[in-house]
């Protein structure tokens, strides 16, 4: 075989190997984000339905026989017009050991979340007096925090006639 022919075959071989390598790179490189977007979708479904349903759920507060919706209580807490011990009632509803909503669902399922109630106004964000809720089964240093990537879902409670809203926000971190 002539030297030129041997060189051509070598060149073709190199080009083919480069083409295969490029195809593999494209395949794995483009799929790198799929797992994270998939997990985000599932988290959003859980989070969105959680905050929407939680806002409408009712609980008893104080001695009144009439139950109040969570969003009603949150509004009253934010405006400082509660007619019962709303903070304690809502905290117990969410977080009472063994019976709290969060204990029976997100904690048990191992979801790494952060549930908070945030008042938003033209002056920025502030708390309304309710604590931040986390999965107590997860070590403190591994819990969901603002420093980590997370998916957030929120339900807005208007404070009309007062300007501003309260956000019932569920943030979920991966792992």
């Amino acid at each position: 075989m002539k030297r030129g022919q041997a060189e051509i075959i070598g060149l073709v071989l190199i080009v083919l190997l480069l083409a295969i390598g490029f195809m593999l790179y494209v395949k794995f490189g483009l799929n790198a984000d799929d797992d994270s977007s998939r997990a985000s979708y599932e988290q959003t479904q859980l989070g969105a339905t959680f905050v929407n349903s939680l806002a409408k759920a009712q609980l008893h507060c104080g001695t009144s026989s009439k139950p109040y919706a969570v969003e009603e209580l949150v509004k009253e807490i934010a405006m400082g017009t509660t007619r019962c011990d709303a903070e304690d009632a809502l905290t117990a509803y969410l977080n009472a050991p063994g019976t709290g909503v969060l204990n029976k669902t997100l904690d048990e399922w191992g979801v790494n979340y952060r549930l908070l109630f945030v008042k938003k106004s033209k002056n920025g964000e502030s708390g309304i007096g309710l604590p931040e809720f986390n999965n107590t089964n997860i070590p403190v240093d591994q819990r969901c925090s603002p420093r980590r990537d997370r998916v957030a879902d929120a339900y807005l409670v208007p404070l009309a006639p007062v300007p501003g809203t309260v956000e019932i926000r569920l943030e979920q971190c991966a792992g």
Binding site: A6, I9, I20, K27, D35, Y41, N52, K56, V101, T105
Partner: protein, 166 residues
């Protein structure tokens, strides 16, 4: 051996090695593609599970009336209880099988007894196939018309899809 024969042999070897590398590359690439397709399939099944759960909430025979203020994620607890009671009756099962396919749908009130609204698990019946199982949970508000109260619950939706063996 003559020089020409040696050179011819070298050429043949080069071609053989080339083809061998090509075949390895193609096999590796298609295996990688197959794995990627399986992942994509699993993702699509998760989406279908969520769509199924949301379609359950939208059923008029389960959803709350508009006057309850329960929003789009509201289910009537009394209607759910009735459906759980009649789900295995002839006609009812077939009607919902056309809509839901192979799936199990359970309602879990946080302060009540879990209800199975629909159950068509093919695994005990069809032993000849392997089944993919995709489970999703979505929260819902439960309206009790007897006490006019809203409580929290969640739907556990499990979908079964046959594994297509390659």
């Amino acid at each position: 051996m003559k020089k020409a024969q040696i050179q011819f042999g070298e050429t043949i070897m080069v071609v053989v090695i080339l083809v061998f590398l090509l075949v390895i590359g193609i096999v590796f690439y298609f295996n990688a593609t197959k794995g990627s397709l399986e992942k994509e399939f699993s993702y699509r099944e998760d989406i279908e599970s969520v769509k199924l759960a949301k379609s359950v909430l939208a059923l008029p025979e389960l959803s709350c009336g508009g006057f309850t203020g329960g929003g789009t994620t509201c289910m009537d607890a009394l209607k759910a209880s009735s459906l759980a009671t009649i789900k295995d009756r002839p006609g009812v099962r077939e009607y919902y099988r056309d809509r839901f396919g192979f799936a199990t749908i359970k309602l879990n009130p946080l302060d009540g007894v879990p209800l199975t609204l629909y159950d068509s698990d093919p695994r005990p019946v069809d032993l000849s196939k392997k089944w993919n199982v995709q489970a999703q949970r979505i929260f819902t508000t439960l309206y009790d018309p007897l006490t006019d109260t809203m409580t929290l619950g969640y739907l556990n939706v499990t979908r079964y899809s046959a594994v297509v063996s390659s």
